[in-house]
């Protein structure tokens, strides 16, 4: 095996590109986890966001409108999740799983209704024509003959990691948000409503998943394809569990996931590409097993 191809600029870029999807979705998921809910429907929120982003970008020929569409869709779905779970006390796992199926079905239905072709969205296939405007990127020069480009969403995602961390652990609002998940009663006793904090958490989740979806279809890829999140939303949930809902640790877990996926792509010459695709998923499960065993050993040590 050639280690130089695995640890190269290309792998580094692939790692960052893939990790960004999971970082944004993971931040969204941890906002619900911190407020005492576990939203496993983020995979669906990403898919919906990715579709909305392409629609906005195509209809107005502007990536900014794509971003606005994605975020708006994310917020609507976040609010919907909040109403179902907080107001009507629905089972969050059932809502989450149904949500993911709903989002894939709805986007596929709309895609096939608009373009008459299935698979992915191409403006040429529509009556209207036009084109998709993608997110801008920063050029970092050349490496090995290929240009190295950094999507603007990557620095934004890293900034959001810092922002959520500061928000959650250094501000009164963050304190109330975390309290609504851990000690809703004491929050109520100081005159704050835990429910409104939970709503804030699910809206923030929708917002961040919308961004993740927009990056997925307008940055990481350049159009929408059916079921394009490829279970990365579930990987993000795993990262949140692994990172104990702390933005910094979740970001670290997401980068680790990104590296496994990127390294897998580099090994395609040696291992069959169908099998290398499974590496990030196997890696995620192993990460969860490792964490659980580690926790158990620590507990035993304490006792």
């Amino acid at each position: 095996m050639d280690w130089n191809t695995i640890f190269s600029v290309g792998t580094l870029m692939n790692t960052i590109n893939t990790a960004t999807i999971v970082i944004l979705a993971g931040l969204g998921c941890l906002m619900t986890a911190q407020t005492g809910m576990m939203n496993i429907g983020i995979d669906g929120m990403m898919t919906a966001g990715a579709f909305a982003a392409v629609m906005g970008s195509w209809l107005f020929d502007s990536w900014l409108m794509g971003l606005v569409f994605a975020v708006a869709t994310g917020l609507v779905f976040g609010l919907f999740y909040g109403v179902m779970v907080i107001r009507y006390k629905s089972d969050e796992f059932i809502i989450g799983v149904a949500f993911n199926i709903f989002a894939v079905a709805l986007t596929t239905f709309l895609l096939r209704s608009i373009t008459k072709a299935s698979g992915s969205f191409h403006p040429e296939d529509t009556a209207r024509g036009g084109s998709i405007s993608n997110l801008p990127y920063i050029s970092l020069g050349m490496s090995g003959g290929t240009p190295v480009n950094l999507s603007v969403m990557i620095p934004i995602a890293l900034a959001l990691v810092a922002i959520t961390y500061i928000l959650l652990y250094r501000t009164p609002l963050g304190f109330w948000l975390r309290a609504s998940g851990e000690h809703p009663e004491s929050l109520r006793s100081v005159g704050r409503s835990p429910d409104s904090m939970k709503y804030l958490g699910s809206l923030a989740c929708g917002f961040l998943c919308g961004l993740s979806g927009a990056y997925l279809s307008l940055g990481y890829m350049t159009t929408f394809t059916e079921n394009m999140s490829a279970s990365r939303g579930y990987v993000a949930v795993a990262c949140v569990i692994f990172g104990r809902s702390n933005p910094l640790f979740v970001c670290f877990a997401a980068i680790l996931f990104g590296f496994i996926e990127a390294a897998g792509q580099r090994m395609q010459g040696i291992v069959d590409p169908t099998l290398t695709q499974t590496f990030p998923y196997i890696g995620t499960i192993l990460m969860m097993v490792f964490l659980a065993v580690f926790n158990r050993m620590q507990k035993r040590k304490a006792a």
Partner: protein, 358 residues
């Protein structure tokens, strides 16, 4: 009939009606005539003897996957990984079905069935043990294991197990004709596998609602801590539930391939069938008899959707309708409680006002 069941059935009827209306609305918005759409759906499910056969076949498939979800869920584990278990069961049984060519079907079919059961059950056992021993969330592990299993089967069917037969460009070697399930109605999907499906469904229904083991499972699923205090081995029951669930999915994988037109394993044999059944189970709150009955209703929708699709309405519409029903049903308890509370507080307000008047 007790009032709780009446309330549940009323909610279900309202939810289904509302979801179908939302489906009609979506058709209107996307420029289709809803009456034409649902008309095509009915014609597609009942229009001829051929499609009625296919509707019955689909009903069986939904019942097996739905009951597989229910067995696991009612013992406390949410199995989202049935799709992967089904793929492995299909691949293992098809491999044997090709290798045992020439053997008596009386010996070969049980062996293939055993292979399907074992591969499905073992693959379901992994997330079950991780959940019970290490408290690792099974929803995430099972869904990720789906992707892994399907990729593995794809690799095997395109690589080491790819058929050398001329004129066939995808799949494993063909299963001996004597082992395959014969068609019951020509041109439809209905084959002899339906008899297996009926027996398995009845067995699972009996296990879940008529035996002490089923009662213990339900106790564990509803409240594992209480079950543990009352001396039930919750962990063991949860694993047993998952093993049965995985075994059922594995068998369904075999039925699909042994009934299919190709008579071999191909990677696209399932179109996320497991999730269709899982949705039915979720709608019926994991009640076995309800799942079997509801499978027929969704069998109609699913088979009819193919005809809708041929008229330009994507079949995903039915998946949308299904998930909307789940949203309604998941919220109904909380919704009704809120209405009851509001009524109660209004009644209190009224009496207070009356008291004030006096």
């Amino acid at each position: 009939m007790n009032s709780r069941r009446t309330r549940y059935l009323t909610s279900l009827a309202v939810s289904v009606t509302m979801a179908l209306l939302i489906g009609a609305l979506i058709m209107l918005i996307t420029g289709h005539d809803p009456l034409d759409g649902y008309g095509a759906l009915l014609a597609g499910a009942f229009g001829s003897k051929r499609v009625i056969g296919t509707t019955l076949y689909k009903t069986g498939q939904l019942a097996i996957t739905g009951l597989a979800t229910a067995v696991a869920s009612s013992s406390g584990i949410f199995n989202v990984g049935g799709e992967g278990q089904m793929y492995l069961g299909a691949l293992a049984s098809c491999y044997l079905g090709a290798r045992l060519t020439g053997l008596s079907p009386w010996l070969a079919i049980p062996l293939c069935l055993l292979a399907a059961i074992l591969s499905g059950a073992v693959y379901a056992w992994i997330p079950a043990v991780l959940k019970v021993k290490l408290k690792i969330n099974e929803v995430i592990t099972t869904i990720l294991m789906n992707t892994i299993a399907i990729a593995f089967c794809k690799f095997m069917a395109n690589g080491p197990l790819k058929t050398m037969e001329k004129g066939v460009n995808a799949g494993t070697d063909s299963i001996d004709k004597a082992f395959r399930f014969n068609k019951l109605i020509a041109g439809s999907s209905l084959t002899e596998s339906i008899f297996y499906v009926i027996v398995i469904s009845l067995l699972v229904w009996y296990l879940m609602s008529r035996t002490t083991a089923g009662y213990r499972m339900r106790m564990t699923g509803q409240n594992s801590r209480f079950a543990r205090y009352s001396g039930l081995k919750a962990d063991r029951l949860a694993i047993a539930g998952m093993l049965i669930s995985g075994a059922m999915c594995g068998m369904l994988g075999m039925f699909e391939c042994f009934s299919g037109p190709g008579g071999r394993f191909t990677v696209d044999f399932s179109k996320e069938f497991y999730f269709d059944g899982m949705l039915v189970a979720m709608i019926m709150q994991y009640k076995p008899l309800g799942i079997i009955l509801m499978s027929f209703f969704f069998g109609i929708l699913k088979v009819g959707a193919v005809k809708m699709q041929s008229q330009g309405i994507p079949s995903e519409l039915i998946l949308i309708v299904q998930s909307v029903i789940i949203f309604f049903m998941a919220a109904q308890e909380g919704f009704l409680t809120r209405i009851a509370q509001r009524k109660a507080s209004r009644a209190v307000a009224l009496t207070v006002r009356k008291d004030g008047d006096q």
